[in-house]
Structure formats: C-alpha cells, structure tokens
Amino acid sequence: MDQARLDSILSRYGGEPYDLIPVLQDIQDGYGFLPKEELKVVAKSLQVPVTQVYSVATFYKMFSLVPKGRNQLKVCLGTTCHLKGGNRLVDSLESRLGVEVGYTSKDGEFSLETVGCLGSCAQAPVMMINDKYYARVTADKVPKILKMYQ
C-alpha cells in the first residue's frame, strides 16, 4: 500500500467525515478502483466506521472494488438512446470485445458499462470511451472506433 500516495489525496481535504465521498472519488480516479487496504486507512483517518465506507463504496455506481479496464466504455441507455438502438450497440460491443456489461476483459484492456444518461440526447445513440464522446454510434461504426483503442 502506497501510504505517501494516499496521504497526498487525504491532505487535499479537511479530514472530516463528510470528506469521505470526495476522498473515495479521488482514489477511484487515481487508482482505477478502491483497494481494500486504502479503504481501511481512509476510515481511520476520517473517523468513519469501515462499514460506512463499505456501504458508500458499494452503493454508488462510480466506485469499483476491483480494477477497471485501461479503456472504460460507457454506453448510454438513456431514454433516447434506448429508443434509437442503444441495446443493439451494447450487444455489438459485448460480442466484439468478449466482455459482458459490468465486467472487464481478461487482458484488462476494456471494461464495459451502461449508464443512465450522458446528456447528449440529441445525438443518440451515444457512448463514451474514457473522456471522449462518440455520437450516433450504430453497429456499423463500432469496428472503426474500437480499432483506435486496440
């Protein structure tokens, strides 16, 4: 466990119990997941029971207790994307990447998730790979997009 790295995250905040979620967000962004040892230190540091830390870590969708892939795909399944074939996009990605929604590929390259809404509804179906948005993604566009990350 990298104490120095964790300390640098904790030092950004005031050490109060209500800093729990921002701290966990920084750890998730920095490490790609929430390691168990780090969580125990956070609990002690913020004076929050480990059970609460665990409850928060498992309640919110952005947190993962296992490492996510190097490339994180988020397929929007908001209403408009659903109506415009978002589910077919999911099927196509699952099939091409060999990974199910909610999981990461064996080589750790891709993790696939669906999200409620990405807020680009006018360009449905929408997906994000890491920080980049892709618009009007019908199944025929998928191979070309994936190639950029493979």
Binding site: L24, L77, T79, G119, A122, Q123
Partner: protein, 617 residues
C-alpha cells in the same frame, strides 16, 4: 481580473470591458455544447484556428467556443457575428470555405444554412428560423454568444448587476418578496414555489443556513442543466449569491452529477474567477455579506437528485432519502435550514432581480410563470434545447419549433418528466404546457426532458424501460418502491416475452396504488406515472402483447421474427460478421439464411444490412 471593492468600481470596469470587446469585431463562435461536442466541435475549432492564421485573420477575427447553440440535430453549429449568420452541420472540410466566403468575401455559404423541411426556404439568420424565433430565451439567452470561461464577457453582458440591487437597494426580505411575486416555481420537477421555500428557510430558527444547487440532472433525455452549467456557470453562481443573501446563508454547494466532468470543470473555474473578483468570499462588494461556494460531485446515483438523498450524499452517506417533514428548508444539510433549488431555477434569479418580479410574472400562465427550458429529443427533426414561455402548446413545440416528425411518420406520444413522468397521446397536442395541465393528463413537468415518439416506439416497451431504470436506481430503503418495482419489472418482462395475462394489468394497477401512497420519496411515488399513463392511453398495445403475443410497433424482441429476403439479399456477409451468435449462414454472394433456433432477435443484422433484405415482423 481586479478585486471589486465597490459597485462603482465594477460599473467602471464593465464599461471598459464593453468598449474593449468591440461588438462590430468579426467573431466565429463554434458551438461546444453537449450536442456538438461529440460531433467534433473541437476539431472544427482547431480547423478554424489554422484557416484564420493562414489568411492572416487571426488577429482581426475572434475565434471562440461557445455554449449550446440550441439546434443540436444540425450540429456542429457555427455562429458568425456581427452578421448573426448561423451555419449548421459544419465539418472540418467546410472550414476553409467558410473563412474564404464569409469572413473574407462577406458572402454566405448557401449549402450550410438552414432549410425549412416543408417549404424548402433557406434562412441564414437565427431570427428567420422557426426553431429560434419561436423561443423566448432567458436562461439560454447568453449561451451561444458567451465564452463560458471568460468573466469579462459575462460582465459585458450585464453579469453580476443584480448584486448592486440586492446589497444596496433591497433588504433580504424584499428579495424574498420579489422572488415570491415573480411566481417562479422550482424547475427541477416538483414545481414548488421558490419564493415560498426561501421564506420558510429565512424564517427558520438558527444562524447557520445553507444554499444548494441541485445539478444532479439524472433524467435520461434531459441535458438542459448540463448546457447551463457548462455554458453559463456564472449565472448559477450569481443566482446563488442572491439566494444566500435572501435567506442569510454563508455557504453554498453545487452538487454536480459524476457524468458531467466538463460542467464540474467550468463551475470550478467560474468560482475561482468569482472569488478573485470578490463576488464570493468575505465582504462582497463591501456589503458586509460573506458567501462562498463549494462544488460537490455525485457518484453515479439517480436517486441523489432527490433533495434529502442529495444532502445525505454531501454528508458522506449513501443516497437514501429521508422522510419529510421536516423539509430541508427547516432541517437540511447537517440538520440546518437549507434552500435547495435546481440549476435552471437559480439561473432565472438574476434576471428576476434585474428586470423585476412583474416582468417575469407577465410571462407564462396564471399558475406557471416565466419560461421553461426543454430538451426536445427523440423522433423529432430539430432535436435540441428550446426555451419557451409556459403555456406554449405541445403542438407548437413539436411542430413549429421541432419541425415535426422525421420522414413524415405519425406522431404517437410525447413523454415528459423523465422516468417520473407520463406519455401524452395525440389528443392532447394542443395542451398548454404548464405544471398543472401536465399533471391533469397524468404526467408531470419534470426537469424538462421532452421525448417525442412515433409509431416505431412501443409504449409497453417504453414503460418497461422506465421501470427497469427506476428499479436499478432505487435505493432499496422502503418496501413499496423496492419490492413494487421488482414486481413491476417482472410483470413487464412477462408481458413483453409473450407470457402476459390480463390479470397482470390489474395487478400492476394495485401495485401502483401502494407505491404511490406509501413510498418515502418521489422515485417510488411517481414510478407509477409511466405505467398508469400508458395503461390509460395505450391499453390496446398491452392487449396485443397479451392476447395476440404481438408487438405492433415491432420493438419487443421476444415477439419478433427476423428473416432474410432471398430476392434482395446480395450475400455481402455484413450481417454474418455482425451476428453475435453465428445464426446466419450461406454461400458468399448468394442469399443468406437465419437459423431461427439460434437467433436471439437482437436486430443487429437488420441494422447493418445496406440492401433492406432483413425483414422484421
């Protein structure tokens, strides 16, 4: 940016900035809003940078990325000022031509301007295009002309003028009065009178109070708040300063959902700028009033849009709502009186102060004042953000602004209010949109998502979709919601898989009664709306699924059959490559065949076939 120690200093600076930002100077504004960003607006802006430099125009012409320019369906949008020419569907390849034709030769690139789908008339200017000229922008007014990271520009457009009025010409009581008289109602969905909420909080006991901006826009189909937070963040901050002064709060939070990283970035930049200028912090403009704002991020939970769940989230807990009363205005963040309002509500406040309550109350209907921003999406030609006075009819929104349904397909329903809303059929198209009228027909205003549906949507599937969404997002705390949604989800799966019974419909209605009356929060209570509204207006579709095991709109996968027409199939094998289960086979360049035993009815073959050979029934 100087730190403003007085109103006079600010007024003087504003004058200087206005003079410096010559309105006659040519400007190219590339839309970088939620619709255009995924279409490549960054690349278009980069192309403009190069093209302008090449022509030696980079000093003369100001190039900016703006907030949402509205008509997202025809993005990437580019606005040329001062002529107010609006170009649409601009690609990187078009840029050199625009620079040459419009910026050098002052002419218009005909193929990139708007064309009316019905009359085929072309219009180069916003004021001539129905989508724009039928709007009354208050909240969206600055989005297309403002660089959201420039406080100077915000000031030049009259930003932070309200501070002079509130601090030096009005008492906090008078500010509450003004907001109450304006008739502003919460734009997050429930429509509670904003002034009344402020009054309750102002009168609550205790010296420490909070202001919260709810930026957790979780309704799928809604991106109004995203556009405002990204495109005009200072308007939100200014509104919050007014609110804080009115109720006596020293600390504010803006809670932004995790899925909006750009909004978080812009708000943080704007807050830093406001602090530097002295609009946030201690003794603002020497008024004696202190106020500062923190940005809190959501972590991917729709239920955190509910005010008490949001508050619990800020406090470091899971997003479970609490029983109300007590309401946050009396007991909110850390148990202290808290006003929590939606982004759009806050963004309306500065203009209400600047222009007066009467001005605002003159817009809209008797019980719903002002304007509302809608995200008009789905089966409509002009998808995008629109802002219209309350009382505008659905027909006007869908047809006059929205340009009607693509390919002339028949209108089926418009869904408002997100997962808590209902589906409104054709017979109500002339309904004036306001809080009460929408409720009367079984829907709600909600945050402003307005999803148009044509005959390719199955209303049973739509309801199933919303119940599935709410089931995944339910916090699980109360039985009516947690178990009710689980059972509703199961029933919908049965109905859409051909195992439905008529008794299921009665059972759903019973479940809805229980959920509506006994759930702790709005998620469970209004989950019944999509179910009951579709049962009421589209019962025939439910019956077709149950009695005939058919989906009339050809959406529900288990009830479909895909076949390949041997007459038109060219044997290109596109579908074979796409099929996830290898159900299609045949000789190359000859007609292919789908094995019905293996077919999972995903529809991918249908989507990729270029020859219309895959048939769906």
């Amino acid at each position: 940016m100087p730190r403003f120690e007085s109103v006079d200093h600010l007024t003087q600076y504003r004058r200087e900035v206005k003079a410096r930002l010559d309105p006659e100077r040519p400007q190219v504004l590339v839309c970088a809003g939620p619709g255009c960003l995924p279409l490549g607006s960054e690349e278009v802006a980069e192309a403009f940078k190069e093209a302008l430099a090449e022509k030696g125009l980079d000093a003369k012409v100001a190039l900016k990325s703006s907030g949402c320019q509205g008509l997202c369906a025809l993005g990437v949008r580019v606005l040329i000022r001062p002529q107010e020419i609006t170009y649409q569907k601009v690609t990187v390849e078009d840029v050199p031509e625009i620079v040459e034709t419009t910026l050098v030769n002052k002419a218009i690139v005909d193929r990139l301007i708007y064309q009316d789908p019905a009359t085929e008339a072309k219009s180069a200017h916003k004021g001539e295009i129905p989508f724009y000229k039928n709007q009354q922008p208050i909240v969206l007014r600055k989005l297309d002309i403002l660089d959201p990271e420039s406080l100077d520009e915000y000031l030049a457009l009259g930003g932070y003028r309200s501070l002079r009025k509130i601090f030096f010409q009005m008492t906090p009581e008078q500010v509450v009065d003004a907001v109450e008289s304006s008739g502003l109602r919460g734009r997050g969905g429930a429509g509670f009178p904003t002034g009344r909420k402020w009054r309750i909080c102002r009168e609550a006991e205790g010296a420490v109070k909070f202001i919260i901006c709810n930026g957790d826009e979780g309704d799928p189909g809604a991106f109004m708040d995203r556009a405002v937070m990204e495109g005009d963040p200072h308007a939100v901050i200014e509104g919050m300063i007014v609110g804080a002064y009115a109720i006596g709060a020293r600390q504010g939070h803006i809670y932004v959902r995790h899925e909006y990283p750009l909004a978080v970035k812009r708000l943080k930049i704007a807050i830093e700028q406001a602090r530097e200028a002295g609009f946030l912090g201690k003794n603002i403009l020497r008024s004696g009033f202190d106020f500062d704002i923190k940005v809190s991020q959501g972590s991917g939970a729709f239920v955190c849009g509910e005010e008490t769940a949001l508050i619990n989230s800020i406090e470091g807990f899971i997003g479970e709502p609490d029983n109300r009363p007590p309401y946050p205005a009396q007991s909110g963040l850390f148990g202290l009186p808290t006003v929590i309002n939606n982004v759009e509500t806050w963004a309306n406040v500065p203009e209400i102060i600047n222009m007066g309550a009467d001005w605002y109350a003159a817009i809209g209907t008797e019980k719903s004042k002002g304007t509302k921003v809608f995200s008009l999406v789905g089966a409509v030609n002009h998808t995008g953000l629109v802002e219209v006075p309350m009382g505008t009819s659905l027909r006007q929104i869908v047809y006059d602004l929205g340009g009607g349904i693509p390919e002339g397909r028949p209108f089926k329903a418009v869904q408002t209010g997100g997962p808590s809303g209902g589906c409104i059929p054709e017979q109500f198209l002339d309904l004036p949109v306001d809080y009460d009228s929408l409720q009367e027909v079984g829907s709600i205003m909600g945050s402003g998502g307005m999803i148009v549906m044509d005959n390719t949507s199955c209303m049973v599937d739509v309801a199933r979709y919303f119940i599935g969404f709410l089931h995944a997002e339910s916090c699980g705390k109360c039985t009516p919601c947690r178990e009710g949604l689980t059972q509703l989800k199961y029933i919908y799966e049965e109905i859409t898989s051909g195992r439905g019974e008529m008794e299921h419909l009665t059972l759903m209605e019973d479940l809805c009664r229980a959920m509506a009356s006994a759930s702790i929060c709005g998620l469970g209570q209004s989950a019944v709306n999509p179910v009951l509204s579709t049962l009421k207006y589209f019962r025939d579709e439910y019956e077709a699924h149950i009695k005939e095991k058919k989906c009339p709109a050809l959406v529900c996968r288990p009830l479909l059959k895909y076949t390949i027409d041997p007459e038109t199939c060219t044997g290109c094998l596109a579908c074979v490559r796409e099929c996830p289960v290898g159900a299609i086979s045949g000789v190359k360049k000859e007609a292919q065949e789908i094995d019905q035993e293996l077919c999972i009815k995903c529809g991918l073959c249908y989507e990729v076939c270029q020859f219309d050979s895959v048939k769906r029934e």
